[in-house]
Symmetry: C2
Subunit: 198 residues, 2 copies
């Protein structure tokens, strides 16, 4: 065949998106070129801007274009309850599904010494400092139930216990090995309300 065409490069480029195989990438490329060039240009611009400007919140580590995210900056939120999650997607899921109005800590991973992911990579020094400020009275663990998730939960609960902070864990309905972001709202909300002493 001839050299790679620009259309082929566009199809290839779209495959960086999760769940997009060759077939749907081709359909997407043809769709935007035939019917939505404006949308494609807007997408190109916002992709670039997002990559350039979105970083992690200095306080909770979720994704944000600000130094401190809008949740951490919101003075009306409860400073006594903090929820530990694995990923920014979990923050979004909890905000959308539950009435939780406290603080977050986003691990951006799970403890996995073999992969070089230790407490520092998960910002646990930061978390410890925040717990040390003395405002938090309950720490809600909302990570998944994988082996790494369990190890991480155990590690953090020990950290909280040593400071006399009550630790709870969300329960009921999260399928074993399931990921928070794929759980339906009702189940997630239920699990939140049904959290227990850990």
């Amino acid at each position: 065949m001839a050299e790679t065409s620009l259309l082929e490069r566009l199809v290839e480029g779209l495959r960086c998106l999760p769940g997009v195989g060759p077939k749907s990438a081709q359909r997407m490329a043809l769709h935007v070129l035939e019917r939505d060039r404006e949308g494609a240009l807007r997408l190109a611009a916002v992709l670039r801007e997002a990559v350039e400007r979105i970083g992690h919140c200095r306080v909770c580590r979720t994704l944000t274009e600000h130094e401190v995210c809008h949740l951490c900056a919101d003075s009306s939120r409860d400073r006594q309850v903090m929820c530990v999650v694995e990923a920014p997607a979990d923050v979004l899921a909890i905000e959308q599904a539950t009435g939780f109005r406290g603080q977050y800590h986003v691990l951006l991973g799970q403890l996995s010494p073999l992969d070089g992911v230790g407490p520092e990579e998960l910002g646990l020094d930061q978390l410890e400092a925040r717990l040390g400020e003395g405002q938090v009275t309950e720490l809600i663990l909302a990570m998944g139930t994988t082996v790494e998730g369990e190890v991480t939960a155990h590690y953090i609960s020990e950290m909280a216990r040593s400071r006399g902070i009550r630790t709870t864990r969300i329960a009921h309905g999260i399928p074993l090995g399931g990921e928070l972001e794929y759980v339906d709202r009702g189940t997630l909300s239920h699990a939140f309300d049904g959290r227990r002493e850990y």
Copy 2:
């Protein structure tokens, strides 16, 4: 809530892609920001370049960044057979699935006078001029079997007939390996009418 965040704008931007709802747009946005910023920048660049440089082939009207697409420019292809399709996607499908080595004409639509789509919008003047060159001996109609597709096929077949060019239509019927009971009525009826000597 606060003003629209950059993450929300990225999620919104991704929705210009077909088949991408709010949930998968969010998953895509978080995925590229957390795990593939390089890929996102490449996608942004190729999207912009594609929109700016990809137009329609001057000869067959398919999508290409060149004045004449690589199929029309390929002198080894058969000039006696031409296939009429509705969309660039159909060209790709035929190239990928069949041994067809002839020319194409891409309608970029279907005759639909009520929507202001007449022969000119489908490049039928161009098609007529190409047929007038006298090289084409068979015109293969490969458009869909919607009402508009039928009208378009009829119009083009008359155009070819008046020049003594043989017109054929690709067979519609039961997909290979398909079971009768799962095929829609229209297709089954069509397959029945189109039966051949066995």
